[in-house]
Symmetry: C2
Subunit: 429 residues, 2 copies
Amino acid sequence: MQKIKIEEKAVEDLLMKLAKVGQVGETGVSRLAYSPEWVEAVEICRAYGSAAGLEMRQDAVGNLWARLEGKTPGPVIATGSHIDSQDPGGRYDGALGVVAGLISLAALKEQAGQPEHTLEAVVLCEEEGSRFPTSGFWGSRGIVGKITPDDLQTTLSFAGEPIGAVMSGIGLDPTRVAEAVRGDIGAFIELHIEQGPILESADLPVGLVSAITGMGQFEITIDGQDNHAGAFPMDLRRDPMAGFAEIASSLIDHAHRLGRPAVTTIGQCKIEPGGTAVVPSRVTFSLDARHPDPEARRTLYATQDRLMSEICARRGLGYSRKQLINLEPCQSDAAILETMKTAANHLGTPHLKMVSGAGHDSQQMALIAPVAMIFARSAGGRSHTPEEFSTISDCTVGVNVLAQTLYQMGYGPPAPETIVQMDQRPVMH
Amino acid sequence: MQKIKIEEKAVEDLLMKLAKVGQVGETGVSRLAYSPEWVEAVEICRAYGSAAGLEMRQDAVGNLWARLEGKTPGPVIATGSHIDSQDPGGRYDGALGVVAGLISLAALKEQAGQPEHTLEAVVLCEEEGSRFPTSGFWGSRGIVGKITPDDLQTTLSFAGEPIGAVMSGIGLDPTRVAEAVRGDIGAFIELHIEQGPILESADLPVGLVSAITGMGQFEITIDGQDNHAGAFPMDLRRDPMAGFAEIASSLIDHAHRLGRPAVTTIGQCKIEPGGTAVVPSRVTFSLDARHPDPEARRTLYATQDRLMSEICARRGLGYSRKQLINLEPCQSDAAILETMKTAANHLGTPHLKMVSGAGHDSQQMALIAPVAMIFARSAGGRSHTPEEFSTISDCTVGVNVLAQTLYQMGYGPPAPETIVQMDQRPVMH
């Protein structure tokens, strides 16, 4: 089998060119959806693809597609990631998968010519929700048909602008978002930085992602009775802080004891009335809990709910739980995973089969196609910060595994188990 | 011994007259220091005292003094409380002691004539810190000489006004604050609502306060490492929320196990960066811990410090503790307590000897005179809220105990153990 070869310099050049657009400090990037920096970054991608002889097209939502037409009509093998960033984030989150897709298609065209099956690399317009807090996965939602006309009015930026108006402002036509929907994607593969420390602690450059974890975010409210911090004895208090502390300890310890890949995080907490000398009346906190196994995830949430309600009942505190986000776990397609493994082995690349604890565009794409992901090692597991870092060597190893996988899937006759027909694709959770 | 008799109607009339000044909703009061409502309330007190034939005088800080001159020159027996309120607070906090002092002196003048020793009732201008967050005890601090010229510039309202400028605005002369200092107070007695549930649970109308608890307020900072809530496994986290939860549980449980009168409250908490999907980097929280026994208080703080630093060290978290407030416990004068007890027994008033968990002006007055306090029962232990409530019956029982105590101390020859000469008064902690 032919080896597709991508050099570190190609990856470094395009990645660092994008890193300068919206640069913050030495290593930070702030490239918010539909901003001038975003427009500039998309144009860099368009110019790169055009120069490589790829057919470039921007859809109604603002996703940029690079196409390498295959000899045989049929489902498209797609790859890509998002071009927007946190505010500020780092140079690699999203950008690596964008760079990888464009460079892979350019390299495949140059080194292997026209493919049997059409390949596309997509520059997804938005994933982070860093300008419009409720817009997360906007680009991939557009492709899978999960943007409603209402969303264009009700999805507001932190500054209060409706996303539809902002799109119009840069020449997109929001009335045509439905035209961005794709019904012809046969597979989607995303390269992304890990954003965690697992590859680093395993001393491996890349991971093959077998599943994206399922996420639940909840808002929990504990009600007690506010009282004077000096005059009200401990034994007569109904202190929601005491209940919160026991709950937070219990939930964090419980997830720790379950072991990987279960995680539970309490990242926000509001205390009312919030006086230093006042026993609180109410503690409201955020609970983020994740597990990639559907059954284990249900059990996790049920156990947490029982723990919290028992603790509150025992302490005479009010308890309520509101689920704000529920993202089902997303299993990678077994056939694509197997192809990625063959590709990595063919390149002599050591790798880890692992689970993604973070959410990704691939979860949306899974609604219309089989998906799988490749992770590149993150230094210290840092992300969503300018401190985010991956070596160019690790990034390039990831791009090579992606390109080799696309080669195996796109060139030569389709293996029935790697290209799944649209009407036969497995139901996603 | 003569019984001084004060009717419920007198207490109710003056208390409810004040309750209308700055009224919020049905039962709330917002009477911030030096505000138009404050000026109006002080004028009501001045008019009441003048009508009763008391000699009225306002000092440079804005405290209003009502004087009933004694036959014998010497130290003054003083009573009173503060006229300002929380924003909004209730009708009784501070106001009860103001009303009690004025009515007691008026009743003593009418029912017992000129006293042997001079009596004064003071309407303290400020105690709550509800307009100027760092001004707490401003009135009594003026009397004991704890206001510096700097304080007039650096004590700012929530709106940013220096307290000195606000004082000038209502005709006080802040350059003369030193003139408010008193060197001739021989005893100070304060009637106040309990602000806790102890009298209610003991089914008693009044308490005789043997000590005001000592208070420490600390700002605690726990430092960890922020990471992605999904991608970073539990076993590799340094999560300051996990440390905070264990600390909050430990401290609250520890104070509970120590039993009354130890209390510990965590009323504020700030989580950084504060994302729902981000393991926090830092948790900062307020710690309020009180005990009336000096030795037990030192042990409490040392134990808490050791617990917190052990938990943080074990979890690989940074720990720092900054003390913001340190109010030493204040023991009531044994002789005044004994006189109050005799007075209560003479009136047939059942009472509880108890500790104050809240801070009071009496703590400041203790720097220049022996002090003691009387508490009136609070409904449900509620205070610093419009829901604060005490029955007029309980309030009047408290006023009668105060008036009877003042009668015993102010009429007839001084008992050496109740009037302590200035150069012989015990050193306060």
